[in-house]
Amino acid sequence: MKLLLFTLIIFINFFSFANKSEKIDSQLRELAGELRCMVCQNQSLLDSDSELAKDLKKIIYKKLQEGESKKEIKDFLVKRYGEFILFRPLLNYANLMLWSAPIIFLLFIGLAAFRKIKIITKK
């Protein structure tokens, strides 16, 4: 009886671990795709085979396993490598214009175009 329970526990843990491992893998891929390989021309950690990229990916994997959040991992890397390592720029006041660019440009150009448009008047 104890043996059965024991096996069951192992099995459940293994199963959830396997699932968890898959989940961590995809989280790693997602995160590595957003981080710059610091010793390459313009590649992400995901695409790079360089030593540094491999080391950083190992560290990220370990941190994901330990349950750290994406933000915590990014903060860790930014502290040591600078904001330059983030391919997705931070959402802060410094980058306000960057992130609001689509709306701003749309408004500006739309306004310029708007002068050409006649609103239909009812006859």
Binding site: L52, D55, I59, K79, R80, E83, A112
Partner: protein, 169 residues
């Protein structure tokens, strides 16, 4: 409307200014800055291969230099002679990156030992605490334990003197 007519030109002039600035300052911006500048020197837990000044004795007490090197790194061999000269007036701690004790000892016995202490960062994990890209890299730490400068690539006497004069200002 006047704005519509002139807007493209204004934007363009602004853009040209930025481009011009960058292109005239491109040499200065090439020196890789460090995110760790003015940060405290991190706690590194490394095995000591030789020497007897661990970081606990140095950090916050005096100025020192940390040189990341490896026996398998060709440019490190080139800079080694410079390090020997520098070691006359500076404390240099050497950290071997992704290396083995045996190879490091051979490297030192062949080229000389400029290092006050030699440590081993076998898996390169400690290097990441400094934001290392590769070897050789040299860090300059002041007597308050803050990283004041980081140099990527092999040092030359010229560069070293430049850094020292920069730091003394």
């Amino acid at each position: 409307m006047k704005i519509i007519k002139l807007f493209p030109m204004v934007i363009f002039c602004l853009l040209s200014y930025f481009l011009y600035w960058k292109i005239s300052n491109i040499e200065e911006t090439k020196e890789l800055s460090s995110a760790m500048l003015n940060q405290n020197f991190p706690k590194l837990d490394l095995e000591i291969i030789s020497g007897n000044s661990p970081f606990s004795k140095l950090v916050g007490e005096q100025e020192f230099i940390v040189n990341y090197f490896a026996s398998w790194c060709a440019p490190c061999r080139q800079e080694h002679a410079i390090l020997e000269k520098m070691s006359n007036k500076n404390i240099i701690i050497g950290i071997a990156y992704k290396d083995s004790k045996k190879n490091v000892k051979n490297f030192i016995s062949e080229l000389g030992n400029p290092y006050e202490t030699i440590m081993l960062d076998e898996n390169g994990r400690a290097a990441i605490e400094l934001g290392l890209y590769g070897v050789p890299e040299t860090y300059f730490i002041n007597n308050k334990g803050k990283i004041k400068f980081r140099h990527v690539g092999p040092l030359t006497i010229e560069k070293f003197n430049n850094i020292i004069s920069l730091l003394s200002k």
